[in-house]
Symmetry: C2
Subunit: 462 residues, 2 copies
């Protein structure tokens, strides 16, 4: 990595000329507010925070930073879970807070063009009147730009795909200040290299997303919910495979382990079986299709030995059934008031899911660590949540996380299903990608030769 | 582009050592058999045809070719439509005919790992006993490697996506002989740059696919078909938008124009309305869902002014209804025994589809050219088919094609929805990608500095 230069007063003047005096700050409060995301990684402040208001300003800032070898870290709303937007080398923090507008709704095309700073929940609220929505939902009200940069996913990915599957076109500012577009508003395109997906998931290390056209989906007219308990993780996961094999196309297929279910039950109004639990959701255009589907799901669950089964097509009842899952993180945090949480994120082919889960249970029992499992089972994705109180607890969680990651890789999986690499997962990429990692380095070198874009993330010197 | 060297007798010896004496030929018959695809582009022979039998052999051939600056062109089965696999600069033709095996069926994961030379129809025949299939279907029995290299799509893409959406992991041989893997068998992965999608659709110009793990889908238990006639293209396309907006999730949504419908009707047993016609197919896990869906489709078609409507859930009747669409190309060729065909391939956002179609109709009428339109309307993709008899006819078809491409780009679309760039579309990439094309060149230069991989395709010197 090249040595970076400090942000000098002369450079601050030039930056202020680009974004205007109101779009730049070196106040400690602003630096502190953009020094840390929601992960356990240590805070690190930038030297200056900049709020661009246009793609051209972003490009101009990058060009200047590139010329002077100043690091630039893009920032959505700071809900990342792997330190993805911590300005580890100082320099410029590029906040997209003011680039948060809907540029155009293409309702007939089921598309919307947005600026990157818009929160996906805010976007969906605005899209409701068109009967359309942007399906990826990582939980927090993450910015769309951040979701694309990290290829965020979430609960509905089993049906609708991850962020990468729900974007058609982007405008990207390159390190040298070029503004390019990648992809097309045409849903089909075989016209050259897929640069769109090269920039999606690159966490701002290859270019900075300044605009995106997203795929939208009609809001489902009818939805149903299922909550079913199982005697073992094995039988729960066999049910996941069977439900997917049936062609039922679930919109969510979530697993909570027995420990987590017990913990959630300590909250008023939650009444889960204290066994491994599957939460499911189905979407349909016709109510009749929904009812037939629920019968089929119940039959599959019973064949797989389900010890409890509740289902509904009623909206209020559906929300009640899903309440514990949707609020599981808040409930867990509330139940551990004196703890910090580390959330692991690995994914494996679904057939390897039982072995992965059994391995985590074995680690938990033999190492005597408290942890909870909650996962997007339909995608083979699990989050192991570790509450810890001190340095030793953190170190143990990190050690166990490393073991789980290596197990996931051994099972043909990945070190991160949806949180991205950021700071925390960079050390596992050699094991996951082998010589493919050298190709990633070649591309990084070609597109950002001075290494100014989000340094210290994704690709880290060995 | 660097100057290439000829394939010398000494080099033939070295190649024979890699693939064995039975895996190499310079016989004119073999060169001729691999000199042309199904496009209108002129044949050009390689200097030697090689049939590798393993990924390592492919890598070793590339390493040797790279050292000696010999062009290498990968070949699946030659069903391309843009000259994608014509060895334009001679050198080595790398045929995957003998690398056509299923490596492993991961039935519980709905995945299969294959060698690139397997035909997708052969693959699906072998997968039938697992109740699974690989959905992209470009018509011909294209090789999976060729489909991935060109990001082929086809009739079912509106529901199941293009080739790029149905692949999880690949092994790729690089120009310098490194063998890497890209992607993961985990359906979710946010671990660094998406190299998988960089190689998919790169038409063998960045690396050569030597193995692929594909996503599979359960074979639908129940299918229905609809054939509906409309008073205008406009009303047909409004129906497409309405059907998609209803949440019905069609598995196919195809348009045939009135001229094409009239032409198809000249064949025994075909009885289409001689108007713009929509062909639809729906897949469902339960029969009841299907029936309710058909009622909804009929209602939408009637609201949009359909002048005829036929639907069925019966398998034989469905096949009969779709017969004309599935055999449209053969029928067209048979009806024009003395003509060659050029098939255009552009796609636009669906809202721009009526304007694109109206433009083609206007060109047809004002320029007095015979052409037929058939398209994947659900994706905004149209193929204009031009029969021609001589040089002048070919030149006119090319001119009209150029106008249609520029119109598609003006409407926010692409010069190629599913056929790839190959030779024919390279000249339109500057208009489609602008400075993004320079980024593609940068990546090509970084990964294939000697330009040996499929030269003359995708990126062509200005």
């Amino acid at each position: 990595m090249t040595a970076f230069n400090p942000v000098t007063p002369a450079l601050l003047d030039q930056l202020a000329q680009i974004v205007g005096a109101g779009g730049i700050s070196t106040a400690q409060a602003d630096l502190d507010l953009h020094a840390k995301d929601q992960s356990q990684h240590a805070a690190h402040p930038a030297e200056v925070v900049i709020w661009p208001s246009s793609a051209q300003q972003v490009a101009d800032v990058l060009k200047l930073a590139n010329t002077h070898a100043i690091p630039v870290t893009p920032w959505g709303v700071g809900t990342g879970l792997e330190g993805n937007s911590i300005p580890l080398y100082g320099g410029i923090l590029l906040s997209f807070e003011r680039m948060n507008q809907i540029v155009e709704v293409h309702a007939d095309d089921f598309q919307v063009t947005v600026q990157p700073g818009i929160g996906h929940k805010d976007l969906n609220a605005a899209l409701a009147r068109y009967g359309l929505f942007f399906p990826p939902d990582p939980g927090a009200n993450a910015s769309v730009g951040g979701m694309l940069a990290n290829n965020a996913a979430g609960i509905r990915t089993v049906k609708y795909g991850a962020s990468k599957d729900n974007v058609l076109k982007m405008q990207v500012a390159l390190a040298d200040g070029r503004l390019i577009h990648v992809g097309s508003r045409s849903v089909k395109q075989s016209a050259g290299y897929d640069l769109l997906h090269l920039f999606v998931g690159s966490e701002g290390t290859l270019g900075v997303i300044t605009e995106a056209t997203l795929k939208l989906v009609p809001v489902p007219q009818h939805m149903s919910a299922v909550v079913a308990g199982f005697p073992s993780i094995q039988s729960a996961v066999e049910t996941v495979v069977a439900v997917r094999g049936s062609g039922l196309d679930p919109a969510a297929l979530e697993l909570v382990d027995a420990a987590h279910a017990r913990m959630l039950n300590s909250v008023d109004g939650v009444d889960l079986p204290e066994t491994p639990v599957l939460f499911m959701e189905f979407h349909a255009a016709q109510e009749s299709g929904l009812a037939a589907g629920l019968e089929m799901v119940q039959q599959i669950c019973e064949e797989m030995g389900a010890t409890s089964f509740k289902s509904t097509t009623d909206t209020a009842e559906r929300k009640r059934l899903w309440h514990a899952r949707h609020h599981s993180y808040e409930i867990m945090v509330r139940m551990h008031p004196d703890k910090t949480f580390f959330i692991n994120d690995v994914a494996v082919p679904i057939s390897a899911y039982p072995e992965l889960i059994a391995y985590v249970e074995q680690l938990r029992d033999t190492r005597g660590i408290t942890c909870y499992m909650i996962g997007h089972a339909g995608d083979g994705n699990i989050h192991v949540e570790f509450p810890y109180a001190d340095e030793a607890g953190h170190a143990l969680a990190m050690e166990i996380n490393g073991l789980i990651v290596m197990k996931a890789l051994e099972l043909g999986g990945t070190c991160t299903g949806e949180h991205g690499v950021g700071i925390g997962k960079a050390k596992y990429l050699p094991a996951e990608h082998g010589e493919g990692l050298d190709v990633m380095r070649t591309i990084k070198q070609a597109l950002d030769p001075n290494g100014i874009l989000n340094p210290g993330k994704v690709l880290v010197e060995a």
